[in-house]
Structures are given as C-alpha cells and as structure tokens.
C-alpha cells in the first residue's frame, strides 16, 4: 500500500530565525497512527501547520496521495485533511451543531449553505462521540474537553482521509484521555490515517504504532515504538526517566525518576 502522506527532507524556519527543524522525513499510510513526541517549542505545531497547508515548508516536499500538497486547492486539500488544532475557537456563540456542520464546508461552493443531509451527518457523528446532548449549546459555554470532542466530531464530518490532532489530550481528564486514545485507534481501524502530537510518551506506547521523535536540537527519527529508548527520551526531554515493561498491561510505561 502506498503512503497517503509522504514528507521528505522538510525544513522550516520563520523569517530571520534559525531553522526549527531540518531534513525531516516520514510517511503515513491509511489505517496508521503517527504519534509525534518532542520538547516544547521544537516545532511540532509548526510541522502540523505545514501538513495542513497553513504554512509552506521552507525546503523539502510534501505529497498527499502522490500529489504535491502545495498544488492542491484549499478545497481539495480540506477534503483530504482535517485538522483539530490545540487552540480552539471559544469566543463564538455558534451552536455546537452549526459548528460541527462547518466541517462540510469543503463540499460546498461559496454560495451554498449546508443542507439537511449535512445536519443529519453532524447529528450522527455527535451521537457516535456520545456528546449528542450538547448539540444546541453555544460553543463558548463548553468546557475544554467538550470543545475538543466537538472539534473531533467536526473533523469526522469533514470525511477526510487524514486527521491531524494537535495535543488532543492536553485539556482532558484521565478518563477522557483514554476515550480519545481509543477513538484514535478506532479511526485507524476505520482506515483513516491519524497524526497526533502529545507530551506523554505513554500515549505512544498505548497506541503502539508509528512514532516520530524530535531531539533537543531539531533532529528527528521516525519508526515504530522500538525507537523509544530510555536514552533517546532522556535526550528529548532533558530529564531522568525510566522505561518499565509492565506485564499486567502488556506494554512499556514511561515514568519520571
């Protein structure tokens, strides 16, 4: 199976600054999850912004289904890639249902408004994520976690092939974190490609799929979870930590020491 998203030798630097990351390569297939780990400020969000087309990498190539990403129209790109940003709009008083329906915008031309079928899809998706009761609430009254789930619902309504989530668990309590990770696994089962960032290495072990790890100096390695060694994680987070295999969980856990 060919890769859905292929990044080769990407670099990005903001004007008049030194590069955030350089020569970064990875690929994601449909049905795969790529978990990006790295220290604060290393450029994880910038990389995601490059993948969604909000920023253009200063060097390197991004291909989506074999087509250069930069050559896709915003509308075609939005039919393939959905983005759940870290900072969500929470000043708007738009109802949750209307907000979720905005995910149908790539399928509408500039003069069209969403129709009954679009609203039905939005309702179904909210039910699937067990937040149907929020449909009429204004989004500025939601908690961080509710807004996160509702935004994921909007990404699903967009019917993309790739879903990108920037720290989807950062605003969530323990249980909701588990719910999002289960959802991510489910999305991969449903043949979506998923890319997410997280600050918790345990999430990478729980998902147990592809991993991309940033070092402190912007170096980047991608592969499966066997990449996550104590040595590499210590270098990434500049702190003492320990990896333990827990037989009861059938997986490795990462703890600070």
């Amino acid at each position: 199976m060919t890769a859905l998203l292929e990044a080769s030798h990407l670099s990005y630097h903001y004007p008049h600054r030194k590069p955030l990351f350089q020569d970064l390569s990875f690929s994601v297939k449909r049905g795969q999850v790529l978990t990006l780990l790295g220290p604060n400020g290393i450029g994880k969000s910038t990389l995601l912004n490059c993948l969604t087309g909000l920023l253009t990498p200063t060097a390197g190539a991004l291909r989506l289904n074999g087509h250069p990403l930069a050559q896709l129209t915003p509308r075609d790109r939005a039919k393939l890639v959905a983005y759940v940003p870290q900072q969500l709009p929470n000043t708007s008083g738009l109802s949750v249902l209307d907000f979720v329906v905005t995910g149908r915008t790539p399928y509408l031309n500039f003069a069209q408004s969403p129709g009954a079928a679009d609203y039905d899809l939005a309702r179904k998706t909210l039910t699937k994520l067990k937040v149907a009761e929020l449909a009429t609430h204004p989004i500025n009254t939601l908690s961080g976690g509710q807004l996160q789930l509702v935004t994921i619902a909007r990404a699903l309504v967009q019917e993309p092939q790739l879903i990108i989530l920037d720290e989807p668990t950062s605003a969530l309590d323990f249980g909701r974190q588990q719910q999002v990770l289960t959802l991510v696994t489910q999305l991969a089962h449903d043949n979506f490609a998923v890319i997410l960032t997280t600050h918790n290495p345990n999430h990478a072990f729980i998902l147990n799929q592809q991993v991309g790890l940033f070092g402190t100096h912007g170096q980047f390695v991608a592969g499966d979870t066997s990449l996550l060694t104590e040595e590499r994680l210590r270098e990434t987070y500049q702190t003492g930590l320990k990896l333990l295999f827990v037989p009861e969980l059938h997986r490795t856990i990462c703890e600070l020491v």
Binding site: P74, R75, A82, G93, L94, T105, F110, A111, N140
Partner: protein, 337 residues
C-alpha cells in the same frame, strides 16, 4: 425538532410583515397626516391606472414620502447587513462597517463637494468615491506589508480613518462658518431629507448587488467568524473571500452613506439584536439583521421628520435610541466579548 427548524422562518416572516405594515404607517404620517383609507385609495388608483381622486395626496405619497420610506428601509438594511459581514470576518462583536474608514472617507468627499460649492448630486458622487477610496487604501496597506492578517487590516483601518478625520478637520477649519461648516456638520449627522426617487434609484443597483453577494455568501460568514485558521483548514480561500466580502459590504455602506450622510449605531447594534433573537449562524442572522435594520431606520427617520417642525439629524436619534438598547444587550450577558 420541526418546531425549532421552522422558528427562523417564522421570525423572518414576522419581521417582514412588521416592515411592510410600518412602511404603510410611515407613508401616512407627516406634516400632512393621511388616513389608511387615503393610502389604499391612492395605491389602488396607481395600480389600476385610473385618475386619482385626490392628486395632492397621490403626490405626497409617491413623490415625497415613498422615496424617503424606501431609502430609510434600504439604507437601514444595508448598514445592518454590512455590520453582520464586518463583525463576522473580523471575529469581533464591537466592529461596525466604519472600521476600514468608509464613513470618514465619504465625509471627506462630501465636505470637499460642499467647499467646492457643488450641489446634492455632486456631494453624493464625491462621498461615494472617497468612501471607496478610503477602504481601498486601508486594504492595500496590509497587502504591501505582505501581512494579510485581520489585525493588520484593523490597524490599517484605524490609520486611514485617522487620516480622513484629520483632512476633514482641516476642511472644517477652512470652511465658511456661516454656510459651509453647517452643511458639513449636518451631513455628518445624517439625514434623508434630500433623498429623491431618482437619487435612490441611482444607488439601488449598488445596494442590491452588495446585499445579494453577502446573502449568497452568508455561510462563508459563519465559517470565517470562527477565525482565519479554522476557515482555511475548511478549504476556504480566506484572503480571496474576505476581499469579496469587504468589497460587498463597502459598496453597501458607501452607497448608503452617500445618500444619507453618516448614520451611526445601526451597523453596530442591529447585528447584535438579530443574533440575540435568531442565533449566531449568519445563514439566519444576516437576513434578519437586514429586516431589523430596515425597521429601525424607518422608525427613526419617521420620528426625525414628525417629532418637531424641523428635521432632527438621524445620528442623534439613533444614538439616543441605540445606546440603551446596546447597554441592555450587554447587560443581558448574551454577548460574550
């Protein structure tokens, strides 16, 4: 569920009905009060082509009051719709259609025409041109800076508005205080007393084009109100669509202002009133704001020409009526800033 789906249609229909009724009432009110019977008689005779029973009444209704009533409704709707458009694309509920300098620019144009001794038509044309010019300048500054963010647009608008105010100040300073200065000040306070059927018909195409463009793009307004980044990842070409929306809203405001002079408050508060009633989705709030704006200015203009022997400038009345409404909306805590 069907009840909630029908609700927006009911609200819009109710507002439309209110507008039509009030237009009939406004046609009857004035220095020469008419009864509803006079009105229906005049309208039937005009529709059937039979000679009017009372030509004076026909003349008052169709030559004097109708242009004014139509202009009040049209301008009120135009200002309110551009208010919705501006508040959506700037993601800011405190923005009014003046943001990019259209009103101050138009005021400079009008003042220039007054200083040159031109008459009503010249004043309207120059006001229109300078209003469009001011917005063109505001929009091109971020373009040259290569920073097409909303914030840079807002800053450019402040700069250009400031410049236009300075030029206007200079013109007032140079104006003859006994005649020209009064005319400039009066123009800035807004009035529909000089509107004729012809001048209204001249700007009507612009009002229609701007309103239709914004009406068909109203779902885009909802998406853009969530922020540029969100809109972009939904496949909206933000820079291009924002340009079209600014263009449409500017045409609407400039066409209104060149007829009536600057009228404050409508573009700011009517969008809030509409959203309070019907919700944030511009699919519904835009048409409702148009209808409420039409009703609001129709009522205000009718008060302006009936309350006293002289004409009361419109901005004075919109200010006195608008302030308490705006405070009420803020206090009702339905607006999150």
């Amino acid at each position: 569920m069907t009840a909630t789906r029908k609700r927006p249609y009911r609200l819009l229909f109710g507002a439309l009905l209110t507008l039509i009724l009030l237009m009939g009432v406004a046609l009857c009110l004035g220095r020469y009060p008419l009864s509803l019977n006079d009105l229906t008689a005049a309208v039937t005779s005009a529709l059937t082509g039979q000679p009017a029973a009372n030509p004076v009444i026909t003349n008052i209704i169709f030559s004097l009051r109708l242009p004014r009533v139509l202009a009040a409704a049209g301008i009120g709707a135009a200002l309110a719709i551009s208010g919705i458009a501006y508040q959506s694309i700037f993601q800011n509920p405190l923005v009014s259609p003046d943001l990019l300098g259209v009103s101050n620019g138009a005021a400079v144009g009008a003042a220039l025409a007054i200083l040159l001794g031109w008459h009503t038509l010249g004043t309207q044309v120059l006001a229109l041109l300078f209003g469009l010019l001011a917005v063109t300048l505001s929009v091109s500054i971020p373009h040259f800076m290569r920073q097409m963010t909303t914030l840079s647009l807002v800053l450019a608008g402040i700069v250009i508005s400031g410049l236009m105010q300075a030029i206007l100040g200079l013109m007032k300073y140079l104006a003859d205080p006994d005649s020209q200065l009064q005319d400039i000040v009066y123009w800035q306070l807004g009035s529909l007393s000089k509107v004729t059927l012809n001048s209204f018909l001249a700007v009507l195409p612009m009002l229609l084009i701007g309103a239709i463009l914004l009406f068909v793009m109203r779902w885009r307004l909802t998406v853009l109100s969530l922020g540029d980044q969100v809109a972009q990842t939904q496949g909206v070409n933000v820079a291009r669509e924002r340009r079209w929306i600014i263009l449409s809203a500017t045409i609407l405001t400039a066409a209104s202002v060149c007829l009536s002079g600057t009228i404050g408050w409508i573009g700011l508060i009517v969008p809030h009133m509409a959203r309070l009633v019907i919700g944030q989705n511009a699919k519904w709030s835009l048409p409702l704001a148009g209808l409420i704006g039409a009703i609001f200015l129709l009522v205000v203009d009718t008060l302006a020409r009936t309350l006293s022997a002289g004409e009361i400038p419109l901005s004075i009345l919109t200010g006195f009526i608008g302030t308490p409404i705006f405070i009420y909306i803020l206090l009702s805590r339905k607006v999150t800033l």
